[in-house]
Amino acid sequence: MQESIIKIFPKHLRDVLNACQVNGDCLEEIRLRIRQPLLFFYGNEEWFLDTERKMLTKRKEQAYVVTKEDLEQMFSYLSHYSFYAYEDEIRQGYLTLEGGHRVGLAGQAVMENEQVKSMRYIYFMNIRVAKEKKDCAKKIIPYILHQDSIYNTLLVSPPGVGKTTYLRDTVRLLSNGGNLMEGLRVSVIDERSEIAACHLGMPQNDVGIRTDVLDGCDKAKGMLMVLRSMSPQVIAVDELGGEEDYRAVEKVLYSGSHILGTIHAKNMEELEQKPYFGHWLKTHIFERFVLLKKSEGGTHYFEIYDKDFKQLC
């Protein structure tokens, strides 16, 4: 397991985790809940931590139970004792570790004027281990290239299939260029720090040599900001959804840049029923749809459609 993850655990658990020698490649998530067993999602299965034998176990009765002090200490380490510096991220319910690992946070929301001002009693954490899957989007690139840029492209899938992973790799491949094309200037609007996973301003994931990242910024505002300042050829944005996003996308398209975005939908039929999307379908704003799927065996594959929803592959 990576040092950047082990480091945020209290000392008594760090020693156990080091002794366990958990394989970071197989580790997907670590879940901590107050007064509940510490859970590892490892190799597609759930495991508990046996602190006495210093190993992962399937036996719940031997599981280490997370205490309030553990979580408070972990939060101090996560935030480098600087709660104030991460107020915006905490308000949105996450922090990003060095290495790009995201720590989801839950607790008691502090509300003010019907907005989430902050969070306290942060006693639930979900550490998602970051894994870059380089070249997973290699086969998509030929279908989305168009002249010296790309078609306006949407990556479509339900949650958990890997839209963000594919988006990240597509950005990297477009930015670096290759045999098929020269590298493009890409601007990433990384509202939730999931694409580049910036930690203290530095991308923890490889997003390519010609990529600029606007981290933690609202998507709609971010798109307009980079248009004015970074002259991107492609703007990459994750999880398009609200009315503001759609308006911002239209402004981008009128400026000559192209959009590479993602959107939640199980299939193309569900996509057609999305609010605000009908207008885009009529005007053929998006010319490529990459429908990502995952088989029962866990294999990822995709289908590509053009603007008329005709399947290309």
């Binding site: 000392k11 101090s76 004792y81 600087s82 991460y86 203290l200």
Partner: protein, 172 residues
């Protein structure tokens, strides 16, 4: 001749002691002022740039070299190591490591150690208020010292010279 030489040496020693005392008092004041400046720098890093504490301490350390720069560097490193239960513990232990290089009084040093409590605040407003409190406290201490400095230096000097003279008389 021997008596005259001895008397001169005693007088020089007395003056030397007075001068050294005077320098010490001046250095005490300088250390108080330096710490206040460092807290202002930190406040700026936290309030305006919202830097995480390890970075804020390092940035402040780079502005001010010498003793406080070293202490703040150490604090920054320890905060990143994530080995202490709280930020105030990091502050306290780091200052204690450099204790011998501080010339302030015991009471003043206790204030230095307690000043780290602002690191344990859970939100920015409280943190800023705590920091401001210690800045004010340091301000009072500095003002008191400045008012007393000249007087104390003079008394110290006269006292040392008179003690030297008294010793001469005694021995003669």
């Amino acid at each position: 001749m021997l008596k005259v030489t001895g008397s001169v040496f005693i007088l020089i020693a007395g003056c030397g002691f007075g001068i050294s005392n005077s320098f010490r008092m001046k250095k005490q004041l300088e250390q108080l002022i330096s710490l206040q400046e460092m807290l202002y720098l930190l406040e700026g890093e936290i309030k305006h740039f919202k830097r995480p504490l390890p970075e804020a301490f390092m940035a402040a350390a780079e502005e001010k070299q010498e003793l406080y720069g070293e202490v703040f560097c150490l604090i920054s490193k320890r905060l990143l190591e994530c080995k202490y239960i709280s930020g105030s513990h990091v502050w306290r232990d780091s200052f204690l490591e450099y204790q011998t290089q501080f010339v302030c009084t015991k009471e003043e040093f206790e204030v230095f150690l307690k000043a780290g409590s602002f690191l344990d605040a859970n939100e920015r407003e409280t943190q800023e208020k705590e920091l401001a409190f210690y800045e004010r406290q340091l301000g009072h201490m500095i003002e008191k010292r400045q008012n007393e400095l000249k007087e104390k230096q003079r008394i110290g000097m006269y006292g040392s010279v008179l003690t030297g003279a008294f010793l001469i008389i005694l021995l003669l």
